[in-house]
Amino acid sequence: MKCRDIQDMILTDYLDGQIDPKKKGIVESHLKECAACREFLVTATEAVIKPFDHSESRVPPESIWQGIQDVIHREQEVEVSNPFYDVLERMKVLLTMPRTMRAMATVAVVLLITVTLFKGINYRQQQIARASQEEMEYLSYLSGTSEMLDGNGGYDTDIEAYFL
């Protein structure tokens, strides 16, 4: 492995202790033989690891929690006083949902509307067809050529064949 690859590994996984044992072995056996990479390790440790060793963890000021509480209380008051708060919140969720989810929801709604409309139209056409068939039967009855129409002029049954 070239020095450049070893130095890349030193700069990330090796210095951070995130390197897997196999790669660690490769880096360490290279370091035993390469003075330049040994020097790079020392310099990198000094420049990119040690400065952060002394970082201080700070305690957040108590005023932050007080601020959070104030906002929560204000929001809860609005929630109680506004009967439409729940509906508005749900609408807000809809508006703030990711674009893909919103697109999918829109497609689902459009599909639902299309299917409902199609079913409605179909039902209406069936009703019209049934009504006109009944009318035809009634007219045939009045004109004395009474035949219960079934598309080919008869019932196509054994009893019908017997009488005919």
Partner: protein, 186 residues
């Protein structure tokens, strides 16, 4: 840090303030310190911390347990800190005083300790100032908060190799600064 159980999360999601305060007490230090490193100004860090917990409070109802609460909080913190840092990136690169920030209480010779701490803080601040917000986030999470590459990848929603490359580029910048400083001193 007290472990936050699912029971506490559920109660907090239903609006129980005491449960939410437990979550706040467990994670506020992490959130505040990451924000402080990312946005530099204590006042801005306080605003980011407050916003992170308000977003959490509002969104706890929809928390899916797909990720751990810890990862979820890390992600919100980093996103909000990076957004804030990007907004102010290049706008104001002056060094801010950490006058309002509180050190962890310590005993002994306070004056010398404070001077020492101030020096180290100044160094860290200047080094972080060299990096863009994405690189800074990786350095803060790894070098200061001690997160693993896996945790950083989850928090930033990026590939683990992207974590590596951001860390590498950030550290190359720090190394080139060191070379520059040594060259100028000679």
């Amino acid at each position: 840090m007290r472990e936050i159980t699912d029971d506490i999360i559920e109660k907090a999601a239903l609006g129980d303030e005491a449960s939410f305060e437990e979550i706040y007490r467990a994670y506020s230090r992490f959130v505040y310190n990451v924000a402080l490193r990312m946005v530099r100004e204590p006042q801005a860090a306080e605003e980011v911390t407050q916003d992170v917990f308000l977003v959490m409070f509002r969104k706890l109802k929809t928390f899916q347990y797909k990720s751990s609460l810890k990862t979820w909080i890390y992600r919100i913190t980093i996103n909000m800190s990076i957004n804030h840092a990007k907004r102010s990136h290049n706008k104001n690169r002056e060094i801010y005083a950490y006058d309002d920030a509180r050190y962890v209480s310590s005993e002994g010779n306070q004056i010398f300790q404070d001077v020492d701490k101030e020096y180290h803080e100044n160094v860290i601040r200047k080094l972080l100032d060299l990096l863009n917000p994405d690189q800074r986030a990786c350095i803060v999470l790894r070098n200061i908060e001690g997160l693993s590459y896996e945790e950083i990848a989850q928090s930033l929603h990026i590939n683990i190799n992207t974590v590596r490359s951001r860390l590498k580029r950030a550290r190359e910048k720090l190394l080139s600064l060191r070379k520059e400083v040594i060259h100028n001193e000679m």
